[in-house]
């Protein structure tokens, strides 16, 4: 297991290095001088030179990459030109909205998907199963940001239960913060839960055809006991893959959905940065997002090994 962990950690590090090189290279190929771009056409040449210096644009490609990555490792992503504050400060502030939103949505989708998937699998071919299959088929087809707009329409505009958007911050207490994130989290979670429930159902039905299920039945376990004690853990293995994949969709979805609810998260930050050509911010936020995806996939790999002892070679 330690060997397995060591191998996974190594591949995690390699992925991060490779991803950072890709991101750096893409930002590098931008034609022209980034400093001049940021300052606009009529910029003072001295200001451009000062910015070039500030951005560390005067060294070789390698030294610039090392400068960027070295800073990032110490939590220093440089200075945002438009906001005139350290990028790390901006990111930290915005992550307090996007991070909890993504996790909230992930938890919601798991909490919804598991019971629904299990019920559908255990009532295969019965009305409950057909109902769930039809509802989830629809759930998958709904774009989450449009669903968010519908939620705003119903719960904020018509029913006045919640405000249509904005975020009061966490200073007002956990509850007020969570309340503001609830509609966005539901909008993100329902389509994802639909996918997850369907994957869980079909994976459970697959495992129910395995020989060891028959062995369990021959021991005297009822259908229900067999499903919960033998099929569920085996059926979970493909679900984990989807869960890992979903996180990247959730993250992307969270960024898009922030626009619907006027949430001051990473999404708003990055879209403003793109229009203002604040490349340092773009680069840093993208790296952060990719880092999150890679980290989640790493966690999924570890979870795999916990769920499936066959993957834990080398005891």
């Amino acid at each position: 297991m330690t060997r397995f962990l060591a191998m996974r950690l190594l591949s995690l590090t390699l992925s991060l290095v490779a991803a950072s090189v890709v991101i750096f290279a893409v930002i590098e190929v931008i034609p022209g001088d980034p400093a001049a771009y940021m300052l606009g056409l009529n910029a003072d040449p001295d200001a451009v030179a000062a910015l070039r210096d500030e951005l560390g644009l005067n060294g070789s490609v390698l030294s610039r990459y090392l400068h960027w990555i070295g800073g990032a490792l110490q939590g220093d992503f440089g200075q945002s030109y438009t906001y005139r504050v350290p990028v790390s400060e901006l990111i930290l502030q915005r992550t307090q909205v996007s991070g909890p939103l993504a996790i909230y949505a992930l938890l919601l989708s798991v909490l919804i998907a598991f019971p629904v998937g299990i019920i559908a699998a255990s009532r295969r071919g019965k009305p409950a199963d057909y109902g769930i299959m039809a509802a989830t088929q629809l759930g998958i087809a709904v774009p989450n940001f449009w669903f968010a707009m519908l939620l705003v329409l119903v719960f904020a505009v018509k029913l006045h239960w919640v405000s249509a958007g904005g975020f009061p911050g966490w200073d007002g207490g956990l509850f007020t913060g969570l309340k503001a994130l609830t509609l966005p989290a539901i909008a993100l979670a329902l389509p994802q839960a639909s996918i997850l429930a369907r994957v869980l159902r079909s994976s459970l039905l697959d495992t129910l055809h395995q020989d060891y299920i028959r062995t369990a039945r021959a021991k005297g376990l009822s259908r229900r006991q067999t499903l919960m004690r033998h099929a569920l853990r085996n059926g979970l293995i493909p679900v984990l893959t989807i869960l890992g994949l979903q996180f990247s969709f959730l993250l992307a979805g969270a960024i898009i959905i922030e626009n619907v609810f006027f949430l001051p998260g990473l999404g708003r930050l990055i879209f403003q940065a793109i229009t203002q050509r604040d490349l340092i911010v773009v680069e840093s936020v993208v790296m952060l997002l990719v880092f999150a995806v890679i980290l989640v996939n790493f966690t999924v790999d570890i979870a795999y090994a916990i769920a499936d002892p066959r993957l834990r070679r080398h005891r």
Binding site: Y212, A216, K219, G220, R233, D308
Partner: protein, 530 residues
Amino acid sequence: MIEIHDLTLDIHGTGILHDVSLTIGAAEVFGLVGESGSGKSMTALAMMRLLPEGARASGQILLNDTNLLALSEAEMCDLRGREIGMIFQEPMTALNPVRTIGDQVAETLLVHGRASRKEALVIAAEKLARVGLPPEDVPLDRYPHELSGGQRQRVSIALAIALRPRLLIADEPTTALDVTTQAQILALLKGLVAEEGMSLLLITHDLAVVAGMADHVAVMQNGKIVEQAPTEQLFTQMKQPYTRQLFEASHHQPDRRVTARSEPLLSVENAQRNYRLPGISLFGKTPVFQAVKDVSFTICKGESLGLVGESGCGKSTLSRAILGLEPLQGGRIVMDGKEVQAGVHMPAELRRKMQVVFQDPYGSFDPRWKVSDLIGEPFHLLEAPPQNREERICEALENVGMPIDCGDRYIHEFSGGQRQRIAIARALVLHPELVILDEAVSALDVSIRAQILDLLADLQARLDLAYLFISHDLNVVKAITDRVLVMKAGEIVEAGTTQQVFDAPQHPYTRTLLKAAPQIPRAWRKEHHA
């Protein structure tokens, strides 16, 4: 103890069992024999009430005067595992891969509320020790993938007998196992019956297995019991033609004409084949598995050479090296004076001289190709497709006794035996000198197997073929080969003429193999073969 009266079963309206009646006495071993599709497994599943969806059963299954067919599902759950235990054919998939073996044996006790978790684990350890897996050798926290096939089958037995059921149903319990492991598992089952006083319903396709095990035997065909009697009586009398047919097919000895000449065709000289084991090692050497270590032998023109060994002994690896599919790490293989090279380096004219027939009649053909294209695939080895392509495909089909008009059909339209004929036709279409038969009859029922063996003997005599006949089945090798090699752990431990090796084995391993193979007692056989 358990009585079945007029059990009739259909699945989605298709008749599977017809008026099956049998009685299994207390502490008795009852053998149920039949070919695939005869309904023997369905009979067992009906007794467990674990039939597939859409099945309808009528008649009576009485366990101590309780009709199992009339019980509710909850009552059946209480009864399964407690009164009747069952083990299945595939030890590799019969255990839950993500739970420890101790846990899985203990579950039988827990689910019936017979013990606390702690006690259940203690009893599980006892039961595992009873089936030959003492905790000091195989701890309870092992997972199934860490055990061998035989060990897994022992775990399956342990969980089936944990509550000392009155009846144990074993559905082909040793079919997937090697012959030496089979002997051990059968001995274990026999010991359990004697000690625990339970009855055993032993389901198998192999007459020799029941001959050595059962007190009472029933023979099934097409969902009906054609004959049942005490074992000795059944074997010595054989009242029904089907029983006799089954018996004769299992010992079938094709008429062979010796065609072997002393001209060598293929010689393997000190062949070595290593595999890198999975897992990338950053430090030190990659671990290597020696699948074939220093093997040498010769096949002469027109000769039939047997290669016997248990699974994992390297016999299939060797065959792939001979076919030029995998490289050797040492030694060389010479065919007709030219050295065999692996992969693209091997000249086409050398490949043309040897062809192969595989075990699995289902996986051997691309389902999207027509039979004529499948048989014609080896023409790729000619510079240009032959002008008489159709003619040669017809010739190959005729050679294997298939109608020549079947070339336009797809492979799923054919039965297992027909597919194996088509596989042989594909191997013959280029008129090779050597055909490698890699477990080519192992997946077939005995009566089909007998026909294919006849065909192979006939083809060898007519077409002057040399065979390398690879098999784990000693009876088959005995019937079709001139000489035989015995392989163990990558090495050839014994070689000699078939008669020599079978009548006077020299190596202890050969003796173990021969002893382990179940045999119908000679005295019972004489009655028919005299």
